[in-house]
């Protein structure tokens, strides 16, 4: 009896924090993250290191917590800004995935769209010698246009020929990867770095080595844009006719058609918006975080963004937080490995665990509602 009771109470206490349905979109990812950190801690314990130390090192490396010592011209703020710099493309890419998901589409082609827009912006603006005031906005415009066109193509193929977007985006990824690598190696290669030639500073979306208060910092201009874009997207999705139609198409194509919504047009539009965001991810990555393109390689951001978007519930604001978390682990890993002697790969394990557990969010939600039902039944039985 008492054992049963204790078990029951334990269960009740466990579900209490996530039982409120109104807060579930926030609480469930938090619980998922918490569980994944416990799992990660176990992994770190197994290899014989102190997990708290490791997590603290992660935060230090990402510029959230101060390191005991810094090299010249470096400080906590420098680290934090490079965190934001790395995070910017991830936010855009995850927003791209989230918008497509709202329309019931799965954009796996973010990496390819990033590469195409990054490459076009590089060759059109990167070597042009234009002034920063013209060059930087132009880079953004080219990014949006190139990505948007490529996404729009995918949407059009789906609408016109009913080609599954998963297939077409994967194929376009390959085409982008090898065609662009051909052009880079033929015309734009830097013989020493074996990458495309570095772009001019004027075209770069991150201000590099800016000296403020005796610190040399990288200032990611794109980050501010990313935050505004997320807020703007939330507005579009919740409050506008365009967002309403995209969501209706995503939830039920038949009913959307029946209600007089042009399903094909909205499919193309959603993919264009998604592609445009991927384009922004591309220019902030190849012309911001980096300043050149490595041939024959697709950025992993395009794929990480799928999971990051899911972790953020495909919600524009949620995506900011999930990108932040994943970037912290990513950025902090170098410092963690040098300080705690834990291999850098462990950080990938942690990210993997988080994403794995976040994918279990739906399961948690069901489990909770079932436990709640049982609880109610029991209460009725007692009274």
């Amino acid at each position: 009896m008492s054992k049963d009771n204790r078990k029951h109470n334990l269960r009740k206490n466990f579900i209490r924090p996530i039982s409120n349905e109104k807060w579930q979109p926030i609480t469930i990812p938090l619980v998922s993250i918490f569980i994944s950190f416990i799992a990660a801690a176990i992994v770190i314990l197994i290899i014989g290191k102190n997990p708290f130390q490791a997590f603290y090192n992660l935060l230090q490396g990402a510029g959230i917590m101060p390191k005991p010592s810094y090299a010249g011209y470096k400080g906590m703020l420098t680290d934090f800004l490079s965190l934001l710099n790395a995070m910017t493309p991830l936010v855009f890419a995850s927003l791209a995935v989230a918008v497509a998901l709202k329309a019931g589409l799965f954009n796996i082609g973010v990496s390819g769209q990033m590469l195409v827009s990054g490459f076009l912006a590089t060759i059109i603006v990167g070597y042009s010698g234009l002034d920063a005031i013209i060059a930087k906005p132009l880079v953004l415009v080219i990014g949006i246009a190139a990505g948007g066109l490529m996404g729009g193509l995918v949407g059009w193929l789906k609408y016109k020929f009913n080609i599954n977007e998963v297939v077409s985006t994967i194929m376009l990824n390959y085409i982008a990867q090898y065609v662009i690598s051909f052009f880079i190696q033929m015309y734009y290669i830097d013989p020493i770095s074996r990458q495309s030639k570095y772009i001019e500073e004027a075209a770069r979306l991150t201000l590099v080595n800016v000296e403020i208060a005796n610190l040399k910092m990288d200032i990611p201009l794109g980050f501010i844009l990313a935050i505004f874009t997320a807020i703007f997207l939330k507005f579009v999705m919740d409050k506008t006719v365009v967002g309403f139609e995209i969501k209706a198409v995503g939830k039920n194509r038949n009913a959307a058609k029946y209600a007089g919504i042009h399903v094909g047009r909205n499919t193309v539009l959603a993919m264009m918006i998604s592609g445009g965001l991927a384009g922004l991810a591309g220019v902030t990555y190849y012309l911001g975080y980096f300043s050149s393109i490595q041939p024959k390689v697709l950025s992993s951001i395009g794929f990480d963004s799928i999971a990051v978007s899911l972790l953020g519930n495909s919600h524009p604001i949620g995506v900011i937080f999930s990108s932040f978390l994943v970037s912290i682990i990513d950025q902090g890993s170098t410092y963690m490995s040098s300080q705690a002697g834990i291999r850098q790969e462990i950080s990938s394990v942690i990210i993997g665990l988080i994403l794995l557990f976040s994918a279990c969010g739906e399961y948690l939600k069901q489990k909770v509602s079932r436990l709640k039902e049982k609880d109610l039944d029991q209460k009725k039985g007692e009274s």
């Binding site: 309403f244 039920n252 038949n254 029946y258 009725k380």
Partner: protein, 512 residues
């Protein structure tokens, strides 16, 4: 005592916020057809789920063959020879009938005394025998995906028979069937009874009960109202007990006053995806103040006519005029704006976005224009205000008001949501396709009343229904369709039910 194979005593089952069964006691004799009658949400299904092992009662006892039992799972129920034929079939479409039936209870043999294998041949023979014995007419080697709905249902019946069920529970078995198939099924059920099985029939169709049931328990709001001897009770009395008030099955309506022509369909031809003509050269007109009903057996082209008028299907020949304007090639949105309301057959996959809340679904056809939106920006307050007004006006019941997800609502309330939205469009032409399918008798009465009310206000109404009774009741003009062609158009007074039936079967022809 042992007269009764099933006894359920003082069963009470509560769910959060609702008492599904309140102190219900029933006793069922061996070898009878016992019907459970009640509106949606009256507690029929819950009661049978207790018998089928899906739920455990909060209070009360169950006796099977005189022995007290606690049925803890469907497997346990099967051990007690209780089998349930569900409303929604649970079949693997890529498997053959036999494979589906033996799933979970595969007869295993050993090859050379060593290698186990499933003895399909023997199973086939056994199933064929069962099928023959009960007149089910099923070929066990066919794949499920090649079967009609009524055939699939027979497979479900075979499934429980194969598991040696003595007590068969049918959950709304005729909801998905055409009139002919229904008759066939009722014949099968009768045969099962004569073969010594005990049948429990959950339904809200009175004529079926009248036709085959021996006794009938009426449930209302979770309580047992009465157990009736079917032979000695009129259908009207049953309906009254079920709804808990006087029901008017025959809708009384004022004589129709036809005014100007609203819809004109000329030589309409529609092809399906395979290029096959499903609607062939159909012409008719509907006037303001007229209910025009298309009668016919399912899948004879009537839904395609409705879809073509609403713009969901492309027209391959002919013209459609609304108030004299050619709308044959207009978009769906334009047609809605010009004045077409459409209550589609499949409310869950066409009529509603199930993951949206009520207020959003109520605005699904007007969200983009004032007052719901201005310059592309939605006005959420307007959604809420209109939603609140409409759920009150049309008595749409839901757990959390306008914020309720439509997915969680009952079929009847989902239908009310669609009808409310479509009536509020104030369109001169309203198309109703199977508006009363799967809704309970109280709601049916209500829907008929609303249709007649709209007619009296000068709407032109196109009704597509498989229920002949409904058509005879409501329609002013009847068009009978067979194989994509209108066989006959005449006023409802000039036709008898029998005549309509003959045209429906293509038995009678009229040269036009």
């Amino acid at each position: 005592m042992s007269d009764y194979i099933i006894e359920m005593k003082n069963i009470t089952k509560r769910f959060p916020g609702i008492v599904a069964n309140d102190d219900v006691s029933i006793r069922i004799k061996k070898g009878e057809i016992f019907a459970l009658l009640g509106e949606n949400g009256a507690g029929k299904s819950t009661l049978m789920s207790i018998l089928g092992g899906m739920y455990e009662p909060d209070e009360g006892e169950v006796y099977i063959r005189g022995e007290k039992v606690q049925i803890s799972s469907p497997t346990h129920a099967a051990k007690l020879n209780i089998g349930m034929v569900h409303q929604h079939f649970k079949l693997v479409s890529d498997y053959t009938i036999t494979e589906n039936i033996i799933l979970g209870v595969e007869p295993i043999k050993k090859f050379a005394g060593l290698f186990p294998y499933v003895d399909i041949r023997n199973a086939n023979r056994k199933i064929e025998e069962l099928s023959k014995n009960f007149g089910l007419e099923v070929d066990p080697t066919k794949k499920i995906s090649d079967l009609t709905v009524s055939m699939q249902q027979r497979v479900e019946i075979l499934k429980v028979l194969y598991r040696e069920a003595e007590i068969l529970i049918f959950d709304e078995p005729t909801a998905v069937l055409t009139p002919q198939e229904t008759d066939f099924l009722l014949g099968i059920i009768d045969g099962l009874r004569n073969g010594g099985k005990t049948i429990i029939l959950i339904t809200h169709k009175l004529d079926e009960i009248k036709k085959i049931a021996d006794r009938c328990a009426v449930l209302n709001k979770g309580k047992l109202v009465e157990v009736l001897d079917v032979k000695e009770t009129s259908t009207k009395k049953m309906a009254q007990l079920m709804v808990g008030r006087e029901v008017n099955l025959e809708s009384d309506k004022a004589p129709a006053v036809f005014k100007e022509e609203v819809l004109k369909v000329e030589h309409l031809t529609v092809k399906n995806e395979d290029g096959f003509e499903v609607v062939k050269d159909v012409s008719f007109t509907i006037k303001s103040g007229e209910i025009f009903a298309i009668a016919g057996v399912a899948d004879n082209g009537q839904v395609e006519i409705a879809d073509a008028i609403a713009g969901l299907t492309k027209v391959s020949g002919g013209r459609i005029f609304l108030n004299g304007m050619d709308i044959t090639n207009e978009s769906i949105r334009k047609r809605t704006e010009y004045g077409i309301s459409y209550i589609p057959e499949d409310r869950q996959s066409f009529g509603l976005v199930l993951d949206f809340d009520i207020s959003t679904n109520l605005a699904l056809k007007q969200y983009y224009r004032e007052p719901f939106a201005r310059k592309g920006i939605l006005n959420k307050e307007e959604f809420e205000q209109v939603g609140t007004k409409l759920i009150d006006k049309y008595d749409i019941r839901s757990g959390q008001g306008i914020k309720t997800q439509v997915r969680s609502m009952s079929g009847g309330n989902q239908q009310k949501t669609i009808i409310a939205r479509e009536i509020e469009l104030q369109s001169p032409l309203m198309i109703f396709v199977q508006p009363t399918r799967g809704v309970d008798i109280g709601a049916i009465e209500n829907i008929h009343k609303m249709m007649i009310q709209e007619r009296d206000q000068g709407k032109a109404i196109l009704l597509v229904s498989l229920e002949l009774e409904e058509i005879m009741n409501v329609a002013d003009t009847i068009g009978v369709i067979y194989n994509g062609q209108l066989q006959k158009i005449a006023s409802s007074e000039s036709l008898t039910t029998n005549e309509v039936g003959e045209y429906m079967m293509g038995a009678k022809h009229e040269q036009r």
